[in-house]
């Protein structure tokens, strides 16, 4: 058995429209080792959330996995029975979502919602589950956990709700936590707190993290490795410290260029931040050729004709671009 917590091989996720499949995510390969923190970056609509949902088995029609394999701790998810898949979900892989305001059941106390994890995966009774829920709330630093356990979601602030979500996700010490933009909907002042909490708890219990974000700066700061997606393709993957220093793909360069950086001096006439012109194509408009070509500053004649293959970079990492063939 490999030591990889997650192994995605040649994953294709398709949108089914009127009986025809349109790939929304295509040929994605990604591996996450035990305890590793990996970032998945891209603009909205690039397929990063779809990839995450497919790993957790949460894709809903008309989206479905049409090709490739997802292995969790060496087990092929597609070959598992519904029952073993369910016991994997929540117990070995957990997920945190973007919207803490709507991600919790409004009619259930947060204690019940956390305790449910222990009932499902640890076979605890109601009383023991409640105790465990209080401990879990304590762990995510909710003040007065013993009192708050009987609160309903609407009584909590957004930050507190996200803490509850973290408590639910990490209740059973999963091997992999997928965090899908966990702080995007939160107040700026508490974003760092929540990120730090996630990282700290995961480090403690050796949980690997797949951090999904549109914020390259955040991801590069906290992750070991960063993968960049564009229009359903994984276009570059490098160690986090390198991607800032030497982004290879023109798109990644664009992302890095669009980041504000401390200490960067502005010279007269130079724009403070560069931006990437144009917008991401829609799934149904994906054609042949590199999907970034229409927006690329270094586009070449054959870019529009064929899709580049993924190649290894000499210093480690992978890239999908003709410039590096």
């Amino acid at each position: 058995m490999s030591d990889d917590v997650l192994r995605i091989e040649d994953l294709t996720i398709a949108l089914r429209v009127e009986g025809r499949d349109h790939p929304a995510v295509e040929g994605v390969n990604l591996t996450i080792g035990r305890g590793e923190v990996v970032g998945l970056v891209g603009e909205s609509g690039c397929g990063k959330s779809l990839t995450a949902l497919s790993v957790a088995g949460l894709l809903t029609a008309p989206m479905h996995v049409s090709n490739g394999r997802i292995l969790i701790e060496g087990q092929d998810v597609a070959r598992l029975s519904n029952r073993s898949l369910r016991s994997l979900r929540g117990d070995r892989i957990a997920m945190i979502f973007q919207e803490p305001m709507t991600a919790l059941n409004p009619l259930m106390t947060i204690g019940d919602q956390i305790g449910e994890m222990f009932v499902l995966h640890r076979g605890l009774g109601a009383r023991a589950a409640r105790k465990a829920a209080i401990a879990a709330l304590d762990r995510v630093q909710v003040p007065g956990a013993a009192r708050r356990v009987d609160d309903y979601p609407h009584q909590l602030s957004g930050g507190m709700r996200q803490r509850v979500m973290i408590a639910i996700a990490l209740a059973c010490d999963p091997a992999l936590l997928i965090a899908d933009e966990p702080t995007t909907a939160l107040d700026v002042t508490i974003q760092a707190e929540i990120i730090d909490l996630i990282l700290e708890l995961c480090r403690e219990q050796g949980t690997a993290v797949l951090m999904i974000s549109h914020d390259l700066g955040l991801v590069a700061r906290i992750c070991n490795r960063v993968a960049v997606m564009y229009a359903g393709h994984l276009i570059e993957e490098q160690a986090a410290e390198r991607i800032f220093l030497s982004p290879h793909h023109p798109y990644t360069r664009g992302l890095v260029g669009a980041l504000p950086r401390l200490g960067r001096r502005l010279t007269e006439g130079q724009a403070a931040l560069t931006e990437i012109p144009g917008t991401v194509p829609a799934i149904l408009d994906y054609g042949a050729g590199c999907r970034f070509a229409p927006r690329c500053t270094r586009v070449m004649a054959h870019c529009a004709a064929a899709t580049p293959e993924t190649t290894q970079l000499p210093q480690g990492g992978r890239i999908r671009c003709f410039l590096h063939d």
């Binding site: 979900r89 929540g90 409004p106 009619l107 449910e116 994890m117 609407h154």
Partner: protein, 310 residues
């Protein structure tokens, strides 16, 4: 919480007062009263006698005075005397309220036990043939005239098969209740099926359902613990509205099945222009609607924490 309820009660009282006044005015201001309808019926009625009857019934008193007296009477539980029979209206209504209530409950039960599952199945199999069939069934249920549906049921189950009595109240047994209840329940059933389908579809795509699924629970537990209660929140209002309007909505069905309820009394009295009785019936109908909907509000207070803690 108590404040919300108090406000609702106050609204209800105002509504009742307005309805009573409105109905009273309709009957008083527009020409044509009990005595003139008597005269139209019996041509030989002596104008002097008519005048005396009108005086006895206080029909010549000024409208505001009569309205005032009527409202004061209601506060004492007195709805006046029937013009036609000189019986107290409260007495005439007494037994009929029970009959109508029984019918409304039975009809609502029919509507719930068929409408909810139908709507749920349709939502679970969205856009499949069974969904289409259920929704065709529902829109048909909304479009079928109740009294005609009742006639068909009567023809099949009473006249052809002979299983059930055609009409009447009998000794109050269940066999007399079945056909009117089915007839009265068909429209609310259809409406409930549609509401349930919409509610389940809306809840199914909610974020917290995705969260629940990510926890790794069985579909059964997901439906029981997370979907059903949240979807029911969206349906309860509709149940209340349907049940509340049943006391009045049953007038046609009651008269078709000769059911001795408030509705058939209303129709009889309308024919006779027996205004105190008409007003009594409408009062009962409105009160029932308001009581049911207040109870629904209370139910929301009890089961929805979002309202409970406000």
């Amino acid at each position: 919480m108590a404040l919300v309820l108090l406000r609702r009660l106050l609204q209800a009282v105002v509504t009742v007062a307005v309805v009573i006044t409105l109905v009273f005015l309709i009957f008083s201001v527009i020409p044509g009263d009990y005595v003139s309808s008597l005269m139209a019926e019996k041509r030989s009625l002596d104008p002097a006698v008519a005048e005396r009857i009108a005086a006895e019934l206080h029909l010549n008193d000024p409208v505001p005075l009569r309205l005032g007296q009527y409202l004061v009477g209601i506060l004492h539980g007195d709805l006046g005397l029937s013009f036609a029979t000189q019986q107290p209206v409260t007495e005439m209504l007494g037994g009929r309220i029970w009959a109508s209530f029984k019918l409304a409950c039975a009809a609502m039960a029919c509507a719930i036990v068929t409408g909810l599952p139908l709507g749920y199945i349709a939502a679970a199999r969205q856009n499949r043939w069974i969904d289409g069939l259920a929704m065709v069934f529902a829109v048909s249920g909304l479009s079928v005239p109740g009294f005609w549906f009742g006639l068909l049921l009567m023809y099949v189950f009473s006249l052809q098969l002979g299983w059930l009595p055609t009409f009447g109240y009998g000794q109050g047994g269940i066999e007399h209740l079945i056909l009117p209840a089915l007839t009265l329940g068909i429209a609310p059933m259809a409406l409930l099926a549609r509401t349930t389908r919409a509610a389940v579809l809306e809840t199914k795509t909610a974020d917290f359902i995705r969260t629940a699924r990510s926890k790794g629970m069985s579909e059964g537990r997901l439906v029981r613990k997370h979907l059903a209660r949240n979807a029911f929140m969206l349906i309860l209002t509709m149940i209340g509205l349907q049940f509340g309007s049943m006391m009045g909505g049953s007038v046609v069905i009651e008269s078709l099945f000769a059911w001795p309820g408030v509705g058939s009394l209303l129709i009889q009295s309308v024919g006779l222009r027996d205004i105190p009785v008409v007003q009594g019936c409408i009062l009962v109908i409105v009160l029932f609607f308001l009581i049911v909907n207040t109870l629904v509000d209370v139910a929301y207070l009890l089961i929805d924490p979002r309202i409970r803690y406000k």
